[in-house]
């Protein structure tokens, strides 16, 4: 009987000590804010296009941190999904087609002759990349445009085009060597046996 008592007391003491340590640690090392949101936000393309059904990239980052699917960002495409999967240690899944397709990067361009100066696009632009005033012709600061195409829909005269970014000598890059397996044989059409593993 006595030994049982001793055991219980000893265990109780240990439990108390560790409980105290845990409590102390939870206060001492409390994480301020939620850095994971910042990390996720940093991976998102910041187009602020809203195609993910969240009003901006940060809200989506917060949603992802709370368990939202990572495949709802068409501008980021598969590379963003892969990066998010890597960060969150989850499986990379294909882009959710409900939110749109991955498209080549574009910038908005206003056909200035047709612009009537309604300022609707200015209000729509999430990054203030459109310059202009009421009754004045507007123009897009191409270097600031994220290609979110949010300005296209509000334009009453449809004078905004989304133009793909053309490669230039300055941003041209060597293509990746075509894999030799591709030249001489192909693994394509073998289903997803590999990815299912």
């Amino acid at each position: 009987m006595e030994s049982i008592l001793i055991a219980i007391i000893a265990l109780g003491c240990i439990a108390l000590v560790f409980g105290a340590i845990l409590g102390f640690a939870s206060v001492k090392f409390k994480v301020e804010g939620n850095p994971i949101v910042d990390q996720i936000d940093a991976l998102l393309p910041q187009t602020q296009c809203g195609q993910c059904s969240y009003p901006g990239c940060r809200p989506y980052a917060e949603a992802i941190a709370n368990g939202e699917a990572i495949n709802k960002c068409p501008p980021g495409g598969q590379s963003t999904i892969d990066a998010l999967a890597d960060l969150l240690d989850v499986e990379a899944i294909p882009l959710d087609a409900e939110h749109g397709q991955e498209q080549p990067k574009t910038v908005a361009f206003i056909r200035e002759a047709e612009c009537i100066g309604c300022t609707k696009c200015i209000q729509a632009c999430p990054v203030d990349a459109i310059l202009g005033a009421a009754k004045q012709m507007h123009t897009v600061i191409a270097s600031e445009c994220t290609g979110c195409d949010l300005c296209v829909e509000p334009c009453p005269v449809d004078c905004i085009d989304m133009l793909p970014i053309e490669p230039t000598l300055a941003n041209w890059n060597w293509p990746s060597p075509s894999s030799s397996e591709h030249i001489i044989a192909t693994d394509r059409g073998r289903g997803n046996a590999g990815s299912a593993a």
């Binding site: 060597w174 060597p177 397996e181 001489i184 044989a185 192909t186 693994d187 073998r190």
Partner: protein, 344 residues
């Protein structure tokens, strides 16, 4: 004018992977010849059989993976794996044992990992180690040198022993010097070899085989197929460690020369451990890699259960090769310190 737009360089040194493999195969032939000289037709039959099987298994897997056969078989890596495995096997091993070994080497140890260049372990040694732990009886039934046993097995006899399940005549079998040495009991080393001329002749046969592999290795060194780092470090370490123990207690420990000239040392040092796919990459890493194999060989030979230890030592260090690579990176031009490890 069909001009191609390609990345530089536009010139290329002659010599392909296949050529490298062929040179290694050629360098192993003197060793094979010596084995045949001493142990009869068995090693040759084994070698031909193993190489054929290796190519066959490789072809089957390539077919399953829908890869072009000619392109991949043409790199001779499968043939080399088969040959190296055969060189390590006992001369008159039953055919099914060899088959299992080659299957494991080619299919499991190499192709399941993605083929040439992707396998973390030396395929031949995986096959050998698997056979050794699975079929200890067959794998330790070595023939003695013909001149010692006096029993000449004809080519047909040899085929019968290997393929028809005919048992190896007891007169032909004989323990390898390393095994003999391991079980010498209370005898001192000198007493052991003085015991019988047969044992001594067996020892000499093995020394000749090792010499032949050493010659092949030197050829590889001269052709710059391998660098001196791994074999040098391996042999030097084995020499130093065995020398230390021999110096401390000559009667119970084999001399450095004995350790360097028996078993599969030269084969291991020049042909197995230098397999670039599974070895450490940088020169520093290669030194550590070779030295560790040498040390492990001595430890397992002396205090382990198995008489020879090249396969296990090489496999253990294969496991450590990526680790060595990460911690022995060279200092890049313009940097003060070599970077260590890998950034996550």
């Amino acid at each position: 004018m069909a001009l191609m737009r390609l990345s530089s360089p536009h010139v290329h040194r002659p010599g392909k992977t296949g050529d490298v493999m062929k040179q290694v195969i050629a360098a192993a032939l003197p060793g094979l010849a010596t084995l045949v000289w001493y142990f009869g037709w068995g090693p040759l039959i084994n070698a031909v059989f193993a190489v054929t099987l290796a190519l066959l298994f490789e072809a089957v897997i390539l077919k399953l993976r829908r890869r072009p056969l000619g392109f991949y078989l043409g790199d001779f890596s499968a043939a080399l794996t088969g040959l190296l495995l055969a060189l390590a096997l006992p001369p008159y091993l039953p055919w099914w044992t060899t088959t299992v070994g080659v299957f494991v080497a080619i299919v499991i140890a190499k192709q399941l990992y993605g083929g040439l260049g992707q396998n973390p372990f030396n395929p031949a040694m995986i096959g050998y180690a698997l056979l050794l732990i699975s079929f200890p009886v067959e794998m330790t039934r070595w023939a003695g040198p013909q001149e010692v046993t006096g029993a000449q097995l004809s080519f047909v006899d040899a085929l019968a022993v290997i393929f028809a399940g005919q048992g190896l005549p007891d007169a032909v079998t004989m323990a390898t010097p390393l095994e003999t040495f391991k079980h010498k009991g209370a005898l001192t080393a000198d007493e052991l070899w003085a015991q019988s001329a047969q044992l001594l002749a067996g020892l000499h046969a093995w020394q000749a085989v090792n010499l032949a592999f050493l010659l092949g290795g030197i050829y590889l060194l001269l052709r710059r197929i391998i660098t001196w780092h791994i074999p040098g470090a391996l042999l030097f370490t084995l020499f130093m460690v065995s020398g230390f123990f021999y110096g401390a207690d000559p009667s119970n420990h084999g001399s450095p020369l004995f350790h360097l000239s028996t078993g599969a040392i030269m084969l291991g040092a020049f042909f197995i451990a230098t397999d670039p796919v599974t070895a450490a990459t940088s020169n520093k890493g290669k030194l550590v890699f070779g030295a560790s194999i040498g040390l492990l060989i001595y430890i397992i030979r002396t205090w382990g259960n198995y008489p020879d230890a090249v396969a296990f030592s090489v496999l253990l260090m294969n496991l450590a090769a990526p680790f060595l690579d990460y911690y022995t990176r060279p200092r890049t031009y313009g940097h003060k310190q070599p970077q260590k490890g890998i950034k996550r």
